[in-house]
């Protein structure tokens, strides 16, 4: 669908969206990462909050392995808007994906029994008490914490969670905003979350250039100086992004850490299994991390290579992948492949997830694609994994695929 211009600048449109949010919602909070997008959004929201004399909440999920510069920038913003900002700096144990290790496919930020290994200490203002939020469960998933925080903060009233993501960032971001979610009062830049919480995307139509144009026009508004270092490291403004660095997509930015903050990097390597390997190979094409084109060893089929890979993994990880592969094989068995899936198929069809093949399975294994998104699976809800494992044990026996 072609873009339809509104006859106004993106800055004016964002201000109008924020003003509507203040008119409509009794409770408002900003979900912040202190990156470039959420910083600009915070400035715009705080302009409106100050004008109206209202206080807004701010959620920052501190994932321990943060750049120092980001933390300092966060302090600066909180100090700057302290009269109208109610910050929730969360340093609670959160379960996070680690896509750079087969031995530790997840890690827990702020894990209490590994305090001596923590990359840094949480700030004084941080919420560290696990009993602070009634909904909090030890080591809950990031994806579960965020909506539950919204419901808690809403206190039964309509609550807007302002999120600084943009459609131009990636296809996934575009899908999040423009997808089939429930829209609030017909506004396409909103998404109903749960209970009385609605996500609002006031800068959804901004480009990266717009973000930096804002800072150019308003030099008094601080931005995260980490971007200056990223620029010096050779990144374009489009590639410079801040996120949890060990995720499936984010690991490609790991190499930056040791260039920009070597002192933090040393602690990260000690804290998160596989971080150094990720930094060395996350951008390498080939078999090391299954990026782009993969090859099988001589004398092997893709199927036997998959078995070899499974055999080389820690038993727990291999068993997890066997569950996924069993479902994948069983699903395709009933959809045109009664005698098993082919070893390989047309690469384009494989990439589009239209046909199954053992090569696709090998790629998922090499990539450490823990949730097997490459095989069209999605993530589990936290708390349901143990149940899933029990069910899969029975199913694998019944199907005769990797029976235990």
């Amino acid at each position: 669908m072609a873009k339809r211009y509104l006859g106004m600048s993106v800055l004016e449109a964002a201000r109008q969206r924020i003003a509507w949010t203040f008119d409509t919602f009794p409770r408002i909070y900003v979900s912040c990462s202190f990156g470039k997008d959420s910083t600009v959004m915070l400035h715009l929201v705080m302009d409106e909050a100050v004008k109206r004399g209202r206080t807004v909440g701010m959620l920052f999920l501190d994932l321990e392995g943060q750049y120092k510069l980001t933390i300092e920038h966060g302090y600066k913003l909180i100090e700057m808007y302290r009269d109208h900002l109610e910050p929730y700096w969360i340093s609670l144990p959160i379960h996070l994906r680690n896509a750079v290790s087969q031995y530790e496919h997840h890690w827990i930020a702020w894990q209490p029994d590994r305090r001596e290994d923590w990359i840094r200490e949480p700030p004084e203002m941080a919420v560290t008490d696990q009993a602070y939020f009634p909904f909090y469960k030890y080591a809950m998933e990031f994806e579960d914490f965020v909506p539950d925080f919204g419901t808690w903060y809403a206190q039964g009233q309509w609550c807007a969670c302002l999120v600084g993501i943009r459609t131009a960032e990636s296809l996934n971001r575009w899908r999040t905003i423009a997808g089939h979610g429930q829209k609030f009062e017909g506004r396409n830049w909103t998404n109903y979350v749960q209970d009385t919480v609605v996500n609002i995307y006031p800068i959804y139509d901004w480009s990266t250039e717009d973000i930096w144009t804002y800072h150019g026009k308003y030099p008094d508004r601080p931005y995260n100086r980490l971007y200056d270092y990223m620029h010096r490291a050779g990144l374009s403004i489009h590639k410079a992004r801040i996120c949890q660095p060990y995720g499936d997509d984010q690991r490609q930015g790991l190499w930056l850490f040791h260039i920009i903050e070597p002192e933090t990097w040393a602690r990260i390597v000690a804290r998160v299994n596989g971080a150094n390997q990720g930094a060395l190979y996350a951008n390498t094409t080939g078999n090391i991390l299954g990026r782009i084109k993969i090859d099988k060893p001589e004398g092997h089929t893709w199927e036997s290579f998959a078995m070899l890979l499974l055999g080389s993994m820690p038993p727990k990880t291999a068993d997890h992948f066997k569950d996924k592969i069993a479902v994948f094989l069983h699903w395709w068995k009933g959809r045109g492949y009664p005698d098993g899936i082919p070893d390989e198929a047309e690469p384009k069809e494989e990439a589009a997830h239209n046909v199954p093949s053992w090569r696709r399975i090998c790629k998922a294994l090499l990539r450490h694609d823990y949730w097997c998104k490459g095989l069209s699976f999605s993530m589990h809800k936290s708390g349901s994994y143990e149940r899933y494992k029990r069910i899969m044990k029975k199913r694998r026996s019944a199907w005769g695929i990797f029976p235990s």
Partner: protein, 133 residues
């Protein structure tokens, strides 16, 4: 500011199933189940909220309000725990609330400063008389 109104869709599984049976997308069930569908799957049991804006020959002029549907507390068959959330601007509303399986009630509310108060039909009439004058 909008006020929150939360209504539960009790027996939504029956409503959805009946819709499919009526449109021919699902086969006609056995007589016992058909009776249950007829009893609990009626459209009149669905919650709705309408803003009253005036009078016409049929009664009140109404604008139906869209809701946001939350399945996060739903049970596995969808008979309980599905909620519809309505964002209500100041005004007078009529709504239909499902109070138990197969039972609904309609009543009136006034929304002022994001607060909801139940009112009677007489209050609605009086408000309309004042507003339409």
């Amino acid at each position: 500011m909008r006020a929150v109104l939360r209504l539960e869709l009790i027996g939504d599984n029956y409503i959805q199933h009946k819709k499919l049976v009526d449109s021919g997308q699902a086969p006609q069930p056995h007589i016992k189940k058909l009776i249950r569908l007829w009893r609990y799957g009626r459209k009149s049991l669905r919650p709705w909220v309408a803003r009253i804006t005036g009078r016409d020959a049929h009664g009140y002029v109404r604008e139906f309000v869209h809701s946001s549907r939350d399945y996060s507390e739903a049970n596995s068959i969808g008979s309980k725990g599905i909620y519809e959330y309505y964002a209500l601007k100041p005004g007078i509303y009529e709504f239909n609330e499902c109070i138990a399986l197969g039972q609904a009630r309609r009543y009136f509310i006034r929304v002022e400063r994001a607060k909801i108060t139940e009112i009677t039909r007489e209050d609605v009439e009086a408000w309309l008389n004042d507003t339409l004058e």
